[in-house]
C-alpha cells in the first residue's frame, strides 16, 4: 500500500477525528453502557440500580426459549444469506448478458433496496395474509392445507425469509453486477476457445474471481439479517406464532423497550455484540484465505 505523506503532522488526525468521534459517541459509549447495565437490575425510571453480577446472563442461559431464539436467528440468517446471494448472483449473470432494455431491468431489480425492512415486511404480509393474501388464495386451488402464519411457525418464518431476501436483493445484485462487469473478458474468451461451456466457465472462472465480492456481501448480509431485520419482525409477526420467529435482536428490543427489563435486555445485546464480533472475526480469519483479490 502506498504511504501518504501529509505536510502537517496533525492534519491526518484532524481529518479522521469526525469519524472517530462518531464511532466513540454512537458505538463505543453505548456499547460500554450496555456492558455496564448488563450487570445490574435496573428500574425504568432509574430510581433503583442493583448490582447483580452475572445474574442476567444466568437467567438468559437457563432459559430454553433464549437458546431456541439463538438457533432461530442462525437458521434465519444463514438461509437469508445463502439463498439471497445465490439468487442475486444468478440474476446478475443474466442481467449481465447483452439484451435489449438492459438498463430498465437493472434499475427495476435495484428498487427493493430503497425500501425499509418494515415496509418490505408489510408488502409481503399482504401477499401471505391468510384472509386477503394472494398466495394462500392461489395455493387453495392446489391444496386444502391452511397456510396460516398466525398459527404455523414455518409459514411465518418463510414469510420473513422471503421478505428479507427480497429487501436485500437489489443491493446484492448491484455488487455482483459491478463485479461481473469488472471481469477481464479475455480470460473468459480464452476459456471459450478451449471449449468450456457457460456453466463450466462460471464455476471455474467467474465464481472464484468474484470471491472478494461474495465475501464482502456474505459478511454484510449476515449482519443485516442478524440486526437490521428487527423492523421486519416487529411489523409482521411480533416474534410469533409461539416464539417461532423470535430472533435475538427482536427479543432484546422487546424485553428492553416493551418489558422495560433494562439489565436483562442489556445482557442480550452484550451477547449479540459478542456474537457479531466473533462471527466477523471468524469470517475474516477463515473465509478471507479463500478469497483471491
Amino acid at each position: 500500500m502506498k504511504r501518504s505523506v501529509f505536510p502537517n503532522r496533525w492534519l491526518p488526525y484532524l481529518l479522521v477525528a469526525p469519524q472517530v468521534l462518531i464511532t466513540v459517541v454512537f458505538f463505543f459509549w453505548p456499547a460500554f453502557d450496555s456492558l455496564r447495565l448488563s450487570l445490574y437490575r435496573a428500574s425504568p425510571f432509574g430510581d433503583r440500580l442493583i448490582y447483580v453480577g452475572l445474574t442476567n446472563f444466568e437467567r438468559l442461559f437457563r432459559d430454553d426459549a433464549y437458546l431456541r431464539s439463538a438457533l432461530t436467528s442462525f437458521v434465519f440468517s444463514f438461509v437469508v444469506t445463502f439463498v439471497g446471494l445465490a439468487l442475486a448472483l444468478l440474476l446478475a449473470s443474466l442481467a449481465n448478458a447483452k439484451i435489449r432494455g438492459l438498463a430498465i431491468y437493472r434499475s427495476l431489480l435495484l428498487w427493493p433496496y430503497g425500501i425499509a425492512p418494515a415496509i418490505a415486511g408489510i408488502i409481503w404480509l399482504f401477499v401471505f395474509h391468510p384472509s386477503y393474501g394472494i398466495l394462500p388464495w392461489l395455493l387453495s386451488f392446489a391444496t386444502t392445507y391452511q397456510f396460516n402464519w398466525f398459527l404455523k411457525g414455518w409459514v411465518a418464518m418463510s414469510l420473513l425469509i422471503v421478505a428479507a431476501i427480497w429487501k436485500q436483493f437489489g443491493y446484492n445484485l448491484a455488487f455482483y453486477l459491478a463485479g461481473l462487469q469488472a471481469l477481464e473478458t479475455s480470460v473468459l474468451e480464452a476459456a471459450s476457445v478451449d471449449g468450456a461451456g457457460p456453466i463450466r466457465r462460471f464455476f471455474a472462472i467467474v465464481f472464484p474471481l468474484l470471491s472478494p465480492v461474495t465475501f464482502f456481501l456474505f459478511t454484510l448480509n449476515m449482519t443485516f439479517s442478524f440486526f437490521d431485520t428487527f423492523g421486519l419482525v416487529h411489523a409482521v409477526t411480533q416474534g410469533g406464532p409461539g416464539d417461532a420467529t423470535s430472533i435475538m435482536v427482536y427479543r432484546a428490543w422487546k424485553d428492553g423497550f416493551e418489558g422495560l427489563q433494562l439489565g436483562y435486555s442489556a445482557a442480550q445485546s452484550v451477547v449479540l455484540m459478542a456474537l457479531v464480533i466473533a462471527l466477523t472475526a471468524v469470517q475474516f480469519r477463515f473465509a478471507e484465505k479463500k478469497v483471491t483479490y
Binding site: 459517541v25 454512537f26 458505538f27 459509549w29 453505548p30 456499547a31 453502557d33 450496555s34 447495565l37 437490575r41 435496573a42 428500574s43 425504568p44 425510571f45 432509574g46 430510581d47 433503583r48 442493583i50 437467567r59 432459559d63 426459549a65 391468510p130 384472509s131 386477503y132 396460516n148 398466525f150 398459527l151 404455523k152 411457525g153 449482519t223 440486526f227 411480533q238 416474534g239 410469533g240 406464532p241 409461539g242 416464539d243 432484546a252 428490543w253 422487546k254 424485553d255 428492553g256 423497550f257 416493551e258 418489558g259 422495560l260 427489563q261 433494562l262 436483562y264 435486555s265 442489556a266 445485546s269 449479540l272 455484540m273 457479531v276
Partner: protein, 436 residues
C-alpha cells in the same frame, strides 16, 4: 450492534436539551400521548379548546408514537431531567409507574393546588384500577372494556336470530352455523390475552394473579393455569381445531378480519366502535353485546384497558398549578361526555353517563351503551377490580406466545398455561426483586 436503548436515551436527551424553551407569557405544559388518527385529532382539540379557555397556560399535545414508545420517551426525558408534565401511559404500565417514584399522584396534585374534582363521580371500575389506598394516582382519560361485536348480515345469512350470543355455548353454536353458511371466520378476537384470558378471569370472578391480582402487594405468581383458565383455553383450542374459531394474530391485528366483514362473532375493545363504523360503512351492519359467559361461575366484572394521564415529578410549582387546572377542565361533565361520544371510550364519570343519556346519545348510538351497561352490571371483587403486575407487557407477551402454541395444537391447554405461568413467575420475581 450497539445498545438501541442507550442510543435512544442519548438522542432523546439531546433533542430535549436543544429544544427552545422560549420565555412565553403563557406557561407551557407538555402533554405526551400515543393517540393516532381520529383519536389524535380529538386530543389536539382538547388542547386547543383548553388553551382558548384561559390565558395562563398553554398545553402542548405531542404525539410520541405507540404506548411503549411514549413511555420510553418519557423515561428517557425523565432521566435527562427534562420530563414532560403529563404523559399518557397504558394500563399495563400502571405498576411500573406506581413503583417508579417518579410520579406526582393526581389526587395529591389537585389537592395541593386548591382545585376540586369530584373523584367519587369517577366510575368504580376505572377508579379501582388506578387507585392506591382509595386515592386516584393518575388522571382517568381513555378507558375501554372488551365487548362482543357481531355481523348482522352474516347472522342473517346463517339463519341466526338478530341477537348477540350471551354465553360461550351460544357463541360456539352461532359460530358453527356461520361457518356452515360459508363465513370465513365464525368467531375471532383481538387483543388475545386481554379479551380471552385477563377479562374472562375477571368476568367470572376468578383470580388472575396472587395478592389479589397485585392489588395487595407485588404479585409473583399467575393463577391462569387453574381449572377455569384451562377450561377456557380447551374450549378455544377445540374451536380452532373444529374451525369455528379463527385466530388472527396479536395486538389488534384480528380487527382487519372483522372490519372486512369476514367474522360473525368478534371480541374487541369498545373503543373499536369508531373504526368499525368507518370500516363497515356501506358494506355490512353490525351490533354489540356484552362479553359471553361460561355457565356455572360467579358474577365478576369485565376490566378496563386503555390509558391514563400521569404527572411526572421535576416541574415547577406554577406549572403544576396549570396541570391541576387542565385536569379540572378535562374532568368536567361536558368534556367527558364529548370525549366519550366522539371516541367510543367509556365516559369516566357517572355524571357524564347521565348527561349522554339525557342528550339521547345512546338512542342514536345503542352500540355505545353495551360497554357502560356491562360495567354497571359487573360486581367489583378482588378478582375483578383490575390487574396490576410489574413488567406486565412481558407477562402479556408470555401468555400470548403460549396461546398460539395452544391454538395451533402444539401444546395442550394445561401445558401451555403452565408454561406461560412459569415464565411469568420468572418475570414477576425480577420486578419484585427490584422493589423489595
Amino acid at each position: 450492534m450497539t445498545s438501541l436503548l442507550a442510543r435512544t436515551v442519548a438522542l432523546v436527551a439531546a433533542a430535549v436539551l436543544v429544544s427552545p424553551s422560549a420565555a412565553l407569557a403563557k406557561t407551557e405544559l407538555q402533554w405526551w400521548h400515543a393517540m393516532t388518527a381520529v383519536l389524535g385529532e380529538r386530543v389536539n382539540d382538547i388542547a386547543t379548546k383548553f388553551n382558548a379557555s384561559q390565558n395562563d397556560y398553554e398545553v402542548k399535545a405531542v404525539y410520541k408514537g405507540s404506548y411503549p414508545d411514549t413511555l420510553n420517551a418519557a423515561i428517557a426525558a425523565y432521566r435527562a431531567k427534562q420530563p414532560p408534565h403529563i404523559v399518557q401511559v397504558y394500563e399495563v404500565g400502571t405498576q411500573t409507574m406506581l413503583s417508579s417514584g417518579a410520579v406526582y399522584p393526581v389526587f395529591q396534585l389537585v389537592k395541593d393546588h386548591g382545585v376540586t374534582i369530584d373523584w367519587n363521580d369517577v366510575i368504580a371500575s376505572v377508579k379501582s384500577y388506578y387507585s392506591q389506598g382509595g386515592n386516584l394516582y393518575s388522571m382517568a382519560f381513555n378507558s375501554s372494556t372488551p365487548i362482543l361485536f357481531y355481523n348482522k348480515d352474516l347472522f342473517k345469512k346463517a339463519g341466526l336470530a338478530d341477537k348477540a350470543p350471551a354465553t360461550w355455548d351460544e357463541v360456539e353454536a352461532a359460530a358453527k352455523k356461520l361457518v356452515a353458511s360459508g363465513a370465513k371466520c365464525g368467531f375471532s378476537a383481538a387483543w388475545p390475552s386481554w379479551t380471552l384470558v385477563e377479562n374472562m378471569h375477571a368476568l367470572h370472578d376468578q383470580p388472575f394473579a396472587d395478592h389479589a391480582n397485585g392489588f395487595d402487594g407485588l404479585a409473583t405468581t399467575l393463577k391462569i393455569n387453574g381449572p377455569f383458565g384451562v377450561k377456557m383455553m380447551e374450549l378455544l383450542q377445540r374451536g380452532a381445531k373444529e374451525g369455528w374459531f379463527t385466530y388472527n394474530g396479536r395486538l389488534n391485528k384480528a380487527e382487519a378480519n372483522m372490519g372486512n366483514g369476514e367474522c360473525g362473532v368478534f371480541l374487541s375493545s369498545s373503543a373499536y366502535i369508531g373504526n368499525l363504523t368507518r370500516a363497515s360503512e356501506g358494506k355490512f351492519t353490525w351490533a354489540t353485546g356484552p362479553l359471553p359467559r361460561l355457565a356455572g361461575y360467579p358474577q365478576g366484572s369485565s376490566i378496563i384497558g386503555g390509558a391514563t394521564l400521569w404527572v411526572l415529578k421535576g416541574a415547577k410549582p406554577e406549572e403544576y398549578k396549570g396541570v391541576a387546572q387542565f385536569f379540572k377542565y378535562l374532568a368536567s361533565t361536558e368534556n367527558q361526555a364529548w370525549w366519550a361520544g366522539v371516541t367510543g371510550y367509556l365516559p369516566i364519570s357517572n355524571s357524564a353517563v347521565k348527561a349522554m343519556d339525557a342528550a339521547g346519545h345512546f338512542t342514536k348510538h345503542p352500540e355505545q351503551r353495551t360497554a357502560i351497561r356491562q360495567m354497571q352490571a359487573g360486581k367489583v371483587t378482588p378478582n375483578s377490580q383490575g390487574i396490576r403486575l410489574g413488567n406486565f407487557p412481558s407477562v402479556r407477551d408470555a401468555i400470548e406466545e403460549q396461546m398460539e402454541n395452544i391454538f395451533s395444537g402444539k401444546k395442550t391447554a394445561k401445558q401451555g398455561l403452565d408454561d406461560a405461568a412459569a415464565k411469568s413467575t420468572d418475570i414477576l420475581k425480577e420486578f419484585a426483586a427490584l422493589y423489595k
